[in-house]
Symmetry: C2
Subunit: 339 residues, 2 copies
Amino acid sequence: MTENADPSSEHIMQVGLGFWASKTLLSAVEIEVFTELAKRAEDLATLQSRLGIHPRAGRDFFDTLVALGFLRRVDGKYANTPATDLYLDKHKPTYIGGMLEMANQRLYAHWSHLTEALRTGKQQNESKDATGTPFEALYADPARLKTFLAAMTGISRGGNQAIAEKAPWGQYRTFADVGTAQGDLAVQIALANGHLRGFGYDLPEVGPIFEEYVEQHALSGRLTFHPGNFFEDPLPRVDVITMGHILHDWNLEEKKMLLRKTYDALNPGGAVVIYETIIDDGRSQNAFGLLMSLNMLVETPGGFDYTGQDCMAWMKEVGFRATSVHHLVGSESMVVGIK
Amino acid sequence: MTENADPSSEHIMQVGLGFWASKTLLSAVEIEVFTELAKRAEDLATLQSRLGIHPRAGRDFFDTLVALGFLRRVDGKYANTPATDLYLDKHKPTYIGGMLEMANQRLYAHWSHLTEALRTGKQQNESKDATGTPFEALYADPARLKTFLAAMTGISRGGNQAIAEKAPWGQYRTFADVGTAQGDLAVQIALANGHLRGFGYDLPEVGPIFEEYVEQHALSGRLTFHPGNFFEDPLPRVDVITMGHILHDWNLEEKKMLLRKTYDALNPGGAVVIYETIIDDGRSQNAFGLLMSLNMLVETPGGFDYTGQDCMAWMKEVGFRATSVHHLVGSESMVVGIK
C-alpha cells in the first residue's frame, strides 16, 4: 500500500486538530505529571492513583504523552524524558511551565473567541468588558499575578540567557530591566556579568516577588527593585535599558512613547535592548511571532508584534543613532539602539 | 550566535501553545478565507472588507496563515496554496473542512474540560448532563447533525479511497456500510468497483442526507439507504460489512456486540472491514490515534480507540476465522476479519 499518498490534507487536519496535543500537554502540566515522575518512574496503577486520574482515562493519557515524546515507557513504568524532567518539574529552577499554566488557565479559553477578536479588533480576556489597562485585572488578583509573572519567566528564559551572554555588557556599568516581572532577565544578566549593578522596574505589586527571586540567586547586593508605572513615572538613569516582551503589549503611540522615555533616561552612549518574538521583515517566516501578535489581539486593547525594521525605524525616530537586529534563540530576536 | 541551543524547551513551548496555530486555522475555515480566495487572489484591503475582518487584525491573521503554509502572498496579494485550494474551498467536492468546522464549533470548547474528563472519566460535551446515547443530542438538531456528518466525510476521505482500492472487492457482490453518515465510504467503494451493490446503514434521520450525497455521485442505482439502529435492529445480510470510525465510539461490551451482530449478518466467506485511527500495538507511535481516544473520552460515555491486536482478538472471540491489519493512509488502518 502507498504510504500517505496525500500529505497535505493530513497536514491540514493535524494543525486543525493540533489543540488536542496542545491541551493534553497543558493538562499534564496542570496535573503535575512531570513533577511527580521527577521523583521516580512509576507504573500505570501507581501513577493514576497518585495523580487522581480516572482508570478510564489514565492509560490513554500517559501513552499519548509517550507518543508525543514527553514521557518514556520502559518495562511498564512511565518516566520523564531528559527535557521534561529539566523543564517541567516544578521543583527545579529550570522549570518553564509557568507560561503553560497561564495558557491552560487563561489563554486557551480566551482564544476560543478568536473569530470575534478578528471581526471586532477587541480583546477577549478578563478585561473584555472593563475599562483601564489590560494589566489592571491581572495585577489586582495576587494568584493571577504570580501565574502571569512565572509565565513570563518561562517564556523568556532562553532569550534572557542569550542576552546575558551576547550583548556588549563589557562597556557598561549599570542597567535597568523595565517591566521586569520576576526579574529573570536581570538575574541572568547579573549572573553572567559580575561587574554590573541593575534595577528591576515594574509596578509596586511586583516588588516582593522580584525580591524573593533575586534573593534565591544571592544577587540582592547588586539588583534592586525600582517601583514605577512607565506611563506616569520616569525611568531610572542608567547605561542600558532592557525591555523583554513589553513593547508588543502596547499600541503604536505607546510603543514610541516608551522608546522616547528610554532614550531620555539613558546616559550618553548608552543602549536600549528590546527583545521578543520579533517578526521577520518579510512577515512570512516567524509563525510564532505572528501568532504572538494575534495573542496580543486577544489579550490587549491595542498591542501587536512587529518586525526588526519596524522597531529600528521607531528607534531612529526618537533619536537613537545606530540600530541593529540580532537573533537570540528560536523565534526570539533583540533590537539594539545606541544613544 | 548559536542557533537554538535548546531545541527541547522550544518544542515543549510550541506544542503547549500549539492551540494558537490550530485555532487560527479553525477560524480561517469558519470565516471561509479559502473559499473566498478560491475565486481569485486578493490584496489585504479587499480581503479584509469582503470577509468582515477588523483592520487591527487582518494583516497579522493573513500573514500568520502565510507563515503556517496555508496561504501564499505574492506581489501584495494573498492566494490559496494548491492544498488549501483543493481541500478547504467549500464549493469543491474535495472539501475536508467539515471536521474542522465541528472542531471549531464543538470540540475546541469541550477539550477545555480535558482535566475534568481525566479526573472523572466522564464525557464533557453537550450530553454531559443528559442521559441517553451520546448521539441523541447531536442527531436531534438538524444543523448539528449535518455538521457532524460532513465532519465524518472530511476526516474519512483518504481512508475511504484507500479501502475502495485496496480491499479484495473482486470476490464479493454486496456490502453494507454501517454507520454510513453522508455515505462517502459507500460512494468511494461503488465508484471504484462497478460490480458492487451496497447499503448505507444509519439512523433514519440520516436518510435524506445520504440520498442527496449518493445522487450527487449518480450512484442511486447501486446504493440504497437502509434505516436502522444497530443496537436494536439486525444488520442487512451481505458479503461485506464496513464500519469506519464507529467502533471507537462505544465501550468494550458494545464493541463486541457490534462485531457479533456483524458476524451473524455476513454471508459465509464474507468479510468485516473495521477502520479508524488504529493505535500501534506498542501504544507509543500513533499519537493521533491515542489523541482520538482522548477525544472519545471527552465526547462519549464509554468509547475508546484500540490497537490492531485488540481488534483481532475481539474478532476471533465472536467467531471470525482469519484476521489481519493493513495500513491505509496517515494514522488510519483497517482490520479485516473473514467469516
